[in-house]
């Protein structure tokens, strides 16, 4: 750290050499010091080292020292302080630290605005190329829309749903009823929720075992495929669950 008045006095050579080296040292260290360099002129930039590990880069306008940025020697980051700072790719009207970029973490303490339907792009591994997955806003919006992500992961095959107010959560998708293509002709059938079965009892009766557990809204349908249930009946094994509130069938 060094400062110099940047004025080489008329002097003998040894003193001149020393004076010049001091001036060069001041230039080399960006006029580092704990106060504005003596003889500073408007337009001069200097480094305020009042904080040894977080010095502040300042601009002298001829009257005042304007702080430009603080430099964090430990995190190797620069925090630009001006309220209308404009860095390539970044702009904000907020004051103070609005965006911190490091080798591994990017943190914003304010809303991040991507204007004019531009995208947030997530690129593949560099070694594999530059393809990306992008998210962007629709071309037109009647009002602001905010989606709040779920607080935890769902289970396999669940889907995202909304509560109508933008709060998203994982839920099991309604699959509807799935009719079986084959005809059941066996004497037993283990039924699965949300399926429909054609049961042909021409040759024998059929005992249908319901699922051991079920969720509200699960549905199962059985159909007399050959109009023979009057001859060979269908018996329902409730498999431990109530049937029309009747526990005796359990």
């Amino acid at each position: 750290m060094a400062q110099h008045d940047m004025n080489i006095a008329n002097q003998g050579f040894p003193a001149f050499r020393s004076d010049l080296n001091n001036a060069l040292s001041a230039i080399q260290t960006n006029h580092s010091g704990t106060s504005r360099p003596t003889g500073a002129v408007a337009g001069q930039i200097w480094l305020d080292t009042t904080s040894a590990t977080n010095p502040t880069l300042k601009f002298f306008d001829g009257t005042d020292d304007i702080s430009l940025a603080t430099i964090d020697y430990s995190a190797n980051t620069v925090n630009w302080l001006d309220s209308t700072v404009s860095v390539t790719g970044l702009a904000t009207t907020a004051t103070g630290t609005v965006l911190t970029l490091t080798d591994s973490v990017s943190t914003s303490t304010v809303n991040l605005i991507i204007d004019n339907q531009k995208e947030i792009r997530f690129r593949e591994t560099t070694a594999n190329g530059t393809n990306y997955v992008a998210l962007k806003a629709p071309a037109s919006l009647a009002s602001d829309v905010t989606f709040t992500l779920p607080s935890a992961d769902g289970t396999a095959n669940q889907v995202l749903k909304t509560d109508g107010s933008g709060v998203l959560s994982f839920a099991t998708a309604s699959t509807g009823l799935e009719w079986q293509s084959s005809i059941v002709t066996t004497s037993t059938l283990t039924a699965v929720a949300n399926k429909g079965y054609w049961i042909d009892t021409t040759s024998n009766a059929c005992t249908v075992t319901l699922p051991a557990s079920a969720s509200v809204g699960d549905q199962i349908i059985f159909v007399d495929y050959a109009r023979t249930w009057g001859t060979n009946k269908i018996t329902i094994n409730t498999n431990g669950l109530n049937f029309q509130g009747n526990t005796s069938w359990r």
Binding site: Q219, I220, T235, I236, N242, Q244, G245
Partner: protein, 43 residues
Amino acid sequence: VNPEYNTDGQSVSIVYSGATQGWIPTVDDDVTFETPTNIQENI
């Protein structure tokens, strides 16, 4: 004692309503064929 369905042409749709009532049939009707009507006229 288990529920039985023993009517020709029947279809059964059951929906699970929860632990208290369990499975509830929403449809368990049979489909009957129309009885032919014989019309006799004296000519």
